[in-house]
């Protein structure tokens, strides 16, 4: 992914380091509201339903302490990634049973085509590196988180 694209997909106001709610669905709503406040979502309920529907198919708790709830929905105007993190971790029903501490909500417009899988796979590839996960867990500001993500994705 090129830097200009990532810069638009995850702006600093989409990175919130305050603790999310401890329960999976509440945490998803908490992240969705961050995207709503950033003016990225035209229909909150439709976006929420799309994310929860995807979650019902299979969990987006991909292991190694990461949750990436995501959906393609026409409630979005542009591809958006929200980041937050949980100190204790949230039960995401991951196959490796580890609670999710690094949380990414990925929302892309319905007409986004392959973009959806592209962002998801790039993000997953970046998160396979221990160092990237460690740095995201310890970063002390949204700006630092953003630069870690930009570096890891480019």
């Amino acid at each position: 992914m090129d830097e200009a694209t990532i810069d638009q997909v995850i702006t600093e106001d989409l990175i919130v380091l305050e603790e999310p709610p401890a329960n999976k669905e509440d945490a998803i709503e908490y992240m969705l509201d961050i995207a709503v406040e950033a003016g990225r979502v035209t229909d909150r309920e439709a976006a929420l339903e799309a994310v929860l529907e995807r979650e019902r198919q299979s969990t987006t708790g991909v292991g190694k302490g990461i949750g990436i709830p995501h959906a393609k929905t026409d409630a979005m105007t542009e591809p958006t990634v929200v980041f937050t993190r949980s100190t204790e971790g949230i039960d995401f029903d991951s196959m490796d049973d580890r609670p999710a501490k690094l949380l990414f909500l990925l929302l892309v417009p319905a007409e986004g085509g392959e973009e959806h899988l592209g962002i998801l796979s790039s993000l997953s590839r970046a998160l396979m590196h221990d160092e990237v996960r460690e740095n995201l867990l310890t970063a002390d500001s949204s700006a630092t988180v953003k630069s870690i993500i930009v570096d890891a994705l480019t």
Binding site: G63, S94, L117, L120, S121, S124, R125
Partner: protein
């Protein structure tokens, strides 16, 4: 001599086309990782001539971004390698709408 030779597991591989239209994603991806976790063999998966990822890792499998129609190579090394390849090929060859809800 033969006995010794037979006991050494050999890495085998198989190329499989991803059948689910949406790719190796959501239900097909979790079915794939679950199947991989049922075998002892070391299992890796990836596109031709690229570094494969651990087939037991959901993060790894998600990172492939494999789409319907893509070819993936599955590598297996261990006593039950053949059976593991059969099971994983089976998952990749199952259309998305035939995955049962749990």
């Amino acid at each position: 001599m033969n006995e010794v030779h037979d006991s050494i597991p050999q890495m085998i591989q198989r190329t499989v086309t991803v059948v689910p239209e949406e790719g190796l994603h959501a239900r097909p991806a979790s079915a794939f990782v679950e199947a991989a976790n049922e075998y002892e063999a070391d299992l890796q998966v990836g596109p031709h001539e690229e570094d494969p990822v651990d087939a037991r890792s959901m993060l790894g499998v998600t990172s492939l971004g494999a789409k319907g129609g893509d070819e993936l190579v599955i590598y297996a090394d261990g006593e039950d390698a053949e059976a593991a390849l059969d099971a994983l090929e089976d998952v990749l060859s199952t259309p998305e709408d035939e995955f049962d809800d749990e």
